[in-house]
């Protein structure tokens, strides 16, 4: 007969569980203690105060004590809090009698479904509240777009990390749809619940370095900046008042770049800002070839022009791609191939 032991046959069940769970809770706790002690030892070694030793100090100390020449940053030695190193585990979900704690355990994705359940509960409450308000006639339209700007929904990976569970794309889409539907019902009490699932993106990448203007003897303003492309380095000095002359390494740009394509590259920043004949420029460039020198000068000119224009125009330039350094460099040749991608001629025999 089937003997269902009510007492926890811990050995068999926990062994099975241990296959999925590599680290026990005690193990993690021990690691945390060891980490803290090690942090204090490291602080003593470096001669700093153990109490105020932050994670950045730890990183700097490790980089100093264990210098590594590996290119892959994640392969270098690190010392971080165990919570960041060991992946989040789930504690054993059932008790000694084998009964799971959570009521949705047998769905398979208990945290996800519990979250959906909670969210739907809130949705129903909000609808009830709204119906009450409408019945009383106190319904007021409120636009809530302000908190949507500057923030975004969690992506699927972040949600998985939060719930410590695998999700499918449809699950994720369903969840986001539910939250958006919740947002459409104007109800202030649900704000915090929804905000848990939004991350801010106020850190826009338009933090552009705008160089200061310098003034030379006559009082004309000018600004200097550099640009790089593919192994050509260029430095440009743009003067505020001029007639559109550009001289490169002391030579006029018409003679330095006999090809029209290169001159069109130089024209791009000025033409974009409609300031074709208004600025003078002097540049120095070295390295690279004809086309990469033109690209480097273009980047330098665009960056130098940032000092003369408004913030909005800087944003337009950034969106046009004038202020981004081209990351393409020459790909390395691999052994066993003739070039970076080209393979040797394949002979059948």
């Amino acid at each position: 007969s089937l003997l269902v032991s009510l007492y926890c046959v811990t050995t068999k069940k926990n062994v099975a569980a241990l296959r999925h769970e590599a680290y026990t809770v005690d193990f993690i706790k021990k690691q945390i203690e060891e980490f803290n002690i090690g942090k204090r030892h490291l602080a003593n070694m470096m001669g700093e105060d153990p109490e105020t030793f932050t994670q950045e100090d730890i990183d700097r100390a490790i980089a100093y004590l264990f210098p590594s020449g590996l290119f892959e940053k994640q392969a270098r030695p690190i010392m971080k809090h165990p919570e960041q190193i060991f992946p989040k585990q789930r504690a054993i979900q059932w008790g000694e009698d084998g009964r799971p704690f959570h009521f949705l355990f047998y769905t398979g994705k208990q945290s996800y479904y519990s979250l959906m359940h909670e969210a739907y509960g809130k949705l129903l409450e909000a609808e009830k509240h709204q119906n009450q308000l409408q019945a009383k006639g106190l319904f007021s339209e409120k636009t809530k777009t302000k908190d949507l700007i500057g923030s975004r929904w969690l992506i699927k990976e972040e949600l998985e990390e939060m719930l410590v569970e695998k999700l499918s794309d449809q699950d994720y889409a369903q969840f986001i749809r539910l939250l958006e539907r919740l947002l459409t019902l104007h109800c202030g009490a649900k704000e915090e619940f929804v905000q848990r699932f939004r991350r801010s993106i106020t850190v826009q990448s338009k933090k552009q370095l705008i160089e200061a203007l310098q003034y030379d003897e006559q009082g004309t303003a000018f600004s200097t900046s550099e640009g790089k492309r593919k192994s050509a380095k260029a430095e440009a000095v743009v003067y505020e008042h001029g007639s559109g002359k550009i001289s490169i390494n002391g030579i006029d740009y018409l003679l330095y770049f006999p090809v029209t394509q290169d001159r069109e590259q130089l024209m791009f920043p000025f033409h974009f800002l409609d300031r074709l004949g208004k600025h003078d420029a002097t540049c120095t460039v070295s390295g690279g070839g004809r086309s990469s020198q033109a690209g480097a000068i273009r980047l330098a000119l665009a960056r130098a022009l940032c000092s003369f224009i408004t913030e909005e125009e800087v944003e337009w330039m950034r969106q046009a791609g004038l202020l981004t350094a081209d990351p393409r460099v020459r790909e390395r040749k691999k052994p066993g191939q003739e070039g970076a991608r080209r393979k040797f001629t394949w002979k059948k025999r």
Binding site: G244, I251, D252, Y253, L254, L255, P258, T260, R263, E264, M267, F270, H271, D274, L276, G277
Partner: protein, 397 residues
Amino acid sequence: MLKRMTRLVSGARQLDPGRLLHGGPQAPQSLAAHPDNQVPDGSPRAVSCTSEGDPARHGEQHEARHYCIPLQDLRTTFPHGLPPRFGMQVRTFNEACLMVRRPALELLHYLKNTNFAHPAVRYVLYGEKGTGKTLSLCHVIHFCAKQDWLILHIPDAHLWVKNCRDLLQSTYNKQRFDQPVEASSWLKNFKTANERFLSQIKVQEKYVWNKRESTEKGHPLGEVVEQGLTHVRNATDAVGIVLKELKSQSRLGAFRLLVAVDGVNALWGRTTLKREDKSPVAPEELALVHSLRKMVRNDWHGGAIVLTLSQTGSLFKPRKAYLPQELLGKEGFDALDPFIPILVSNYSPKEFESCIQYYLENSWLQHEKAHTEEGKKELLFLSNANPGQLERLCAYL
């Protein structure tokens, strides 16, 4: 654009009321017979074109305007002299319009005031690549042709020092080399350009070509030219004789001689020609170059010498070289010293505007932005007011 037109039109400009725009010095043609279908009202073409067809009357007020050379004149005066791109433009537009520019005006002024008793003055047009030296030379040649001078025009001296397939040993002087092909083609063009002089000028010596043929003293120069054309082997010698005769007879005052050489730095540079044993040939060893060098020396009077430096066809010279010192080398500079250098530079804003107007009027620029201010600024930036570059750019639009 209308504002621009009124501004330029209200500037100093005289248009004879009876003259039509494309007339030139010949009888006024009716507009209906005109090949171009331009709008007959005066103002659009007055901006970039002028009706003054005679270079002798070109002055400051005509600066930056185009003037027309009638096509028959073109065939007689410039059988070989126009640069190829300009020739294509002439064929496309069906008219030859040259811009009147300051260096050319300066040269014309000097030429008008030359004293023919003094030795011939040498004028050297120099400048960056594509600034209009050859076309300025053509302007001057047209002027001299109108003034009835004898024109000795070598379109490109570089053609004589490179890419020559047959080099014969010269019959006249054993150390030198003949170039029959180049000499005969030049003789043909010389004949077309100066037909009327060939019968007037008489040779002053007897020249023996071979056992059976000779040219007696007192015979017209045309005979020498014919001899050179029919017997290609003697063509180089014929050229040498023509040059010598013209030089000696110009002092007599029967005619005025203009020596116009384009790419004169070829005469003193290096050549790419080789002898049969692959040793290089120096320019002095070419008979044509030798006779031309004698011509360009200023030991004769009764005319003028106008020269142009050119890097485009030159051999073994860096691309950015444009000064006389760099292109001629020490030897050439000493040989040409003293000379009057005339710098030909890029377009001034007025000239640039005029050139764009000319292209617009001939419907050459089809791009919709070509009419606008931004389009013009773009073209100005891209070509940096260099006439050659502008022409190449506009070819795509």
